[in-house]
Amino acid sequence: MDLVSKLYFNYSKIIKTIRIYLLLAGPGMIVMIADNDAGGITTYAATGAKFGYSLIWFLILLGPVAYFVQEMTVRLGAVTKHGHAEAIFSGFGPFWGWFSLLDLTLVNWLTIVTEFIGMTAAMNIFGIPPLVTVIVVILVMFGIVLSGRYWTWEKITMAFCLVNLIYIPAAVLVHPSVSDVIHAGFIPNFPGGFNGELFFYMMANIGTTIAPWMIFFQQSAVVDKNMKEKDIPWGRFDTVVGAFFTIIVAVFVIIVTGTLLYGMEIGSAAQAVHVIMGTHQWVGTLVAIGLFDAGFLGAICIALTSSWAFGEVFGWAHSLNYKVKEAFWFYVFFFAGLITAGTVVLIPGAPLVLITLFVQVVAVTLLPAALVFLIILLNNEEIMGKYKNTLFDNIANITIVICIIVLSSLYGISTLFPALFR
């Protein structure tokens, strides 16, 4: 009887903990999984096709990197109750404020275009024309965002996050050799030696792991969710879980493409799907659904990031808890970004490849600034109080930030001058 009571007590405790987590989960999980957007899936697919399982260990290392950066936004948002855009204006003045806001808006809009490219390409595989995909996607996003509650938006978006795990069954279906995956993927190695091409792929993977919009998104989401200082541990846990899943998804994409496409040059995830469809229809179908979902998650989160940022600075009502009438400009900005980006994809002869490349270049103009501001703000005792960075935080975060700045900059530069690392 005593044992039964103990078991029941432990069971109740676990259920209660899970309930609290589900209540507070969201920003960390969503930002991390949405980070595996259409561009991210393309990068992983190309990496798997080029190097097989050999860079899995490197992707696993990127999980903690993403966590350390995003954890800072949880603390900053919960303590200041301001989004990152407003925090930059307030802390560093109008010059850096306008630079960050306008650069963010540009890079976000370009990224949303790439998400629509991914979504239309994925649906095209099922015979759905791009026009229908764009219209339906925007209408569905209308429905999710106009629910009038942050909570509803968050939980629906988390359901889309679960769809991202579709790469796990896809990987199981291709029957990879577990021994090969472990031996080639989990032991650090540089396939073919550390050359320019390998370095380029490593930089591309880092570039997809930390994007400027993620910093702005999570901080604004923490504020919109009304997370308090006491919720910071849950926010951290949520970010850990998100980082874990984002790496899981990345690893399984690598397993799929490393098994089926090893040795091929893959330029886009859509191209990978087309090739896979030729031999493994079910796997191709799952990968196409995953690509669509990745683009959908990316688009809805990134569009929201710009709206939050503008709302914070311009003083508009900027919460998903408001109805359209109450936060008119917030919603107008959100849908204007989506509709214009979706329209660009439909224009015949639009320079979509150029846009995809340009995203990387514009992103590296903003990422270092956003990261440096984050570190400076997190070290300000007046703002952060007891939640300011500790010595360990600073050693870890400054090291990570310097590495990200150097590598993402080199990646952006190599996009401008492709011969540099090839």
């Binding site: 560093f92 600034a369 400076i376």
Partner: protein, 71 residues
């Protein structure tokens, strides 16, 4: 038709003027940064400025090479 064009023109002028006013008020509101910057923070901001100048220079160079038929 002329009246409609005039009304739309007036609306656009009002919107632009309102936006300019809003931007001025934002600039005034945040004119004095709230945080005291340490030496290290000032150095980091200086690095950012130089970094951006470098990137703009690089973009300009790329643009110049494209115009002149380069890669």
């Amino acid at each position: 038709m002329a009246t409609m064009v005039r009304v739309i023109g007036e609306q656009i002028v009002a919107l632009v003027s309102e936006s300019a006013q809003k931007i001025r008020s934002i600039n005034q509101k945040y004119a004095n940064p709230k945080i005291q910057l340490s030496g290290g923070a000032k150095l980091a901001l200086l690095f950012l400025e130089l970094y951006l100048i470098f990137l703009v220079g690089l973009l300009a160079f790329k643009f110049w090479t494209i115009i002149h038929g380069g890669a």
